[in-house]
Symmetry: C2
Subunit: 608 residues, 2 copies
């Protein structure tokens, strides 16, 4: 069994031992399913990922999309892979049965996606964007829009995109200028403007492309409150679903990226000939709010991509480290003795542990956040639903920002292990880094995520979201304590460390959030990235302690075979390694926050 | 004046205010020079770098070398740039006048190289390798070898390479297998074997290529003691210097790297037809020792490349941050207010300071190590010469390893500042990262540098090298103290911090090195990389405090204009920022070392 994408037993551990995902079968929405269905879905994802997505991952990197007579040329394998994906129903997996979905938990959907993202991040992106656009239509579209656009998107006949950025406004959506002028027809607007960084903005794989576009209705106020959301198809779609005239949506150029190359990225011109029509989706002036409705899902999707690139890089470098003989142990003086495999060297193990903790820890958190989405939408108790949303709101920027940084660190460690070979394009790890480098930038840069965490998520609703996070951590610490009292104290020191650091996190948060009134937002938020690092290290420690405490229990309870025991021991040891090497690094960061450091902000432009 | 490669005033500050390089004019070797000569050399380097090297940096990345009828095809601009470099005498700048050199200090030579490396790391590499090979011939070659090989290398008629690695032995030179069989002619051997990762291994720019090759004479012992050094020309060279027959050195293939693409990298087959002759250079069995003689210079050269890629990335992202309007300050509620430039955002300043400290700090240390080479070779007092070598031996792995990691961190920060644009190939910063990613791998991986530091440099000669480093640091602290006593205490807190951390470094070093007898090399050296990080942070702090204390004095003494004052204030503030954000991160690493952490080594293969 090839394990270069993802360890199947790790995925099962996350879903069943950590998340107990089958408990969700108690929700009416999932009542018709059972574990066997979930297993079949994952097996199908794995086989399509391995057979259709993975084989052309490097080819798509080398054969970058180009324009020929105004059309985007892609490798044919991209379409073949996506056909297999849509045919197997993955785009509709989470939707209601009544609109053709399978009513799968979002957690299972994400677990399935983990294979595709590890296998080929740039080909699966077309599906990911289509699903995101479809989700917007499902939430805010009219019956006609759903019939004409959403249904063909679920089956893969139409693809979708998200059009937010403009050449002068990447992060600052407040400054979007694309204009919408009402026409005689209700809800239909004439659109003009240009859009930047549009992934999948143009291609010939799907019969049509439905762009979800942020634009400003003529006369609307400046800022985000003036933004509305529009569905703008490449070709117009009549009421009966038939495809009609060209809608004046042009590709003005392609962006040439350092990675993620298989996903064509375009500059788009809307309404150059004055003939681009858009249909408003939702209320005028509620465009960004509508988009943010789907933002957690989108950010978790991006994070899962980052984490899975770390995961596959980890597996590739692990296999290399096991096979490649190089050097001898320190102190071995006999040059005639055989060389030992790389994995025998302590520093290689350190680089592998850096990757293992980032990849498996990241996957664990990504699936936990997905389970919060399921709970938010399906739990019978409204208070639990609300709290799930609050916890999700806090964890999403941490997952997006902290783990996309950690994932890059993991990918560069994979290159380092493989040395000169890792630096060449004959091996995949250099591409993983290049592909992954986008993740801290798109879907809200990591700096913006940090401001979102400290400036907004830590304070809204009285800081309830963070309280919920702290409660989760305390529960894991309590579980570890109980184990210690039962006679196995292998994780006792880690529980103490996390308890102290969590208490410090609470204090620092309180200090920072209450300082805003006196010091002003600018001074306090100047250290938002440090606060993100502190929070990230605490959350990652918790994710690892939680895995370890479960692994330790299973080791005692199960009559497990060698492979399972080794796997569980690996979880425990990786936890101990993280607490020894990584968690303590939160200390100086907490100190910096505690003293409200002002040195970044105080640096003057003319001093650089 | 374009400052996207290097701030000229920073280079002058490093050379004259920090290093007082003109003090070297007192050495007889440099007695004929003066500051004007040094300035002319640097001005010439700058103009050749800007006019000949920088313009084709991206073109060489895109037009990767390829083989056509067995010949390597490169952009013609590469040769044009190198012609300008050799014509200006840069390859011979540091050599004795009697063999055609300028007798320039190595420090000035490196300062000149800083421009070339910032402008085009892959084109200058051909010259860098030629100089390194020439230095080996100068140190160990016979009179005939010097006449036939060295002289044409100094003028750029011949280029040189270093051939160490083989496909099965990258880091482990002990396992080199290339074979040398004596011929009837004294000192001439018949060579056979294959070599890997040979930069510049084949090209048509120079009339000939002189490969400096590690090989094992038939019957020589296993391990590094069986290795000898050979000069193997592509075409044989007769006693009268005329170029003769092909020497059976073939290119077996090219390696396709993620960066550094302009430097062709080859797999080489030596003696496939049994007709490859090599001339021994130095004593049989002393090949590696001979190479190590030049290792400090080579590693400093690699480090300077890493640092200069960080430097130019910093300058590019700084210019972008000053020009690109994006977003508003936190708390600014009016969306109709104009956007502010990126540099107004605290997190962008943090990313710029990350780069400034890595780039300017790295350059400062690289030039200091170059000045140690000058002192080692030219100081009248033998004790000073010896101590210069010892301090250099300790600082070289720190510069190579810590600063190549910091430089990569800087390059990824440049991408982050520039967002989507930074991720595209329309801007140079993504290439800087890719080019730079090689530096932690080649010329001894960073993991190996760390073992060299803790396992060898920290202990040889009774740890005298580290004592000298600690003494340098103590002197800088004393200078800061004196300033505080004179009434300006702006750096007093930093001096205290560094004093405490240096004292801790001394204790931890003592503990680790004395533990080897009991715990064994494997257990102690398992944390070599942590020891490197600890040492790196202490050294980088010292480099910054030294710059700051000088800047503070100059601010008081000079009647400086605004630009100079801003520059000096920037040095002081960057120091304060480093001490606030980066030095404290050494604390948990010191703790880890103090408790002799064993978690990396204890991780078992089967647990991954």
């Amino acid at each position: 069994m090839s394990e270069d994408l993802l360890r199947e037993d790790d995925l099962a551990f996350q879903l069943h031992d950590v998340l107990k995902v089958t408990d969700m079968l108690a929700y009416p929405r999932f009542a018709d399913h059972d574990r066997e269905v979930f297993d079949q879905v994952l097996a199908s994802a794995r086989s399509i990922a391995e057979e259709k997505f993975r084989p052309h991952n490097r080819a798509a990197d080398l054969a970058e999309p180009y324009l020929e007579n105004g059309k985007v040329v892609l490798l044919p394998e991209v379409k073949e892979a996506l056909d297999a994906f849509f045919s197997a129903g993955f785009a509709a997996g989470h939707h209601d049965a009544e609109i053709g979905g399978l009513q799968l938990p979002w957690t299972i959907q994400q677990a399935a996606f983990s294979y595709f993202k590890a296998a080929n991040i740039s080909s699966i992106a077309y599906a990911f964007l289509t699903i995101a656009a479809a989700n917007l239509l499902l939430a805010h579209g009219t019956a006609s829009q759903k019939r004409r656009f959403l249904e063909p998107m679920m089956s893969g006949r139409f693809f979708g995109t998200m059009m937010l950025s403009e050449p002068h406004a990447g992060s600052s959506l407040s400054d979007v200028r694309t204009k919408a002028v009402p026409t005689a027809e209700e809800g239909v607007y004439r659109i003009s403007g240009s859009k930047m960084w549009i992934s999948g903005g143009q291609q010939e794989m799907s019969e049509n492309i439905v762009h979800m576009v942020l634009a400003r209705i003529e006369g609307a106020p400046a800022g985000v409150k003036g933004l509305s959301l529009f569905a703008i198809p490449r070709y117009r779609v009549a009421e009966d679903g038939s495809i009609g005239a060209d809608n004046d949506v042009r590709v003005a150029g392609l962006n040439h990226k350092m990675g993620y190359r298989g996903t064509v990225n375009t500059v788009m011109a809307l309404g150059e000939n004055g003939d681009c029509l858009g249909e408003i989706v939702g209320e005028p002036g509620r465009g960004l709010a509508g988009m943010f409705h789907m933002m957690n899902e989108a950010r978790i999707g991006v994070s899962l991509g980052a984490v899975m690139l770390a995961y596959t890089g980890y597996r590739h470098s692990l296999m290399y480290a096991r096979e490649r003989p190089q050097g001898r142990h320190p102190g071995e003086k006999d040059p005639a003795s055989p060389q030992v495999p790389l994995i025998e060297h302590a520093d290689i193990r350190r680089l592998l542990l850096t990757q293992k903790t980032a990849a498996e820890g990241g996957l664990s958190l990504a699936l936990f956040t997905a389970s919060l989405i399921d709970r938010q939408h399906n739990h019978p108790d409204e208070a639990v639903r609300e709290d799930s949303r609050r916890l999700l709101d806090v964890l999403t920027p941490v997952l997006k920002s902290w783990f996309s940084d950690r994932a890059l660190e993991a990918n560069t460690a994979a290159i380092q292990i493989m040395g000169g070979y890792g630096y060449t394009r004959d091996y995949p790890v250099e591409q993983f880094w290049r592909d992954n480098r986008l993740n801290p930038i798109h879907e809200g840069t990591n700096g913006i995520q940090a401001i979102d965490l400290l400036g907004r998520k830590a304070v809204i609703e009285g800081g309830r979201g963070l309280d919920l996070l702290h409660t989760e951590i305390v529960e894991t610490i309590a579980a570890t304590r109980a184990q210690t009292e039962d006679g196995d104290g292998r994780l006792a020191a880690e529980a103490l460390m996390l308890e102290a650091m969590t208490s410090r996190h609470r204090q620092v948060t309180e200090k920072l959030t209450s300082a805003r009134a006196d010091m002003g937002d600018r001074a306090v938020l100047a250290n938002a990235t440090a606060y993100m690092e502190f929070t990230g290290r605490v959350v990652e420690s918790w994710v690892w302690l939680r895995q370890a405490v479960i692994a330790l229990r299973l080791l005692t309870e199960e009559e497990a075979g060698d492979e399972r025991r080794h796997f569980l021991e690996g979880k425990i040891h990786a936890c101990r390694w993280y607490f020894a090497h990584e968690l303590p690094r939160a200390g100086p960061v907490a100190d910096l926050l505690d003293r409200m450091d002002g040195t970044s902000l105080a640096m003057q432009d003319v001093w650089f």
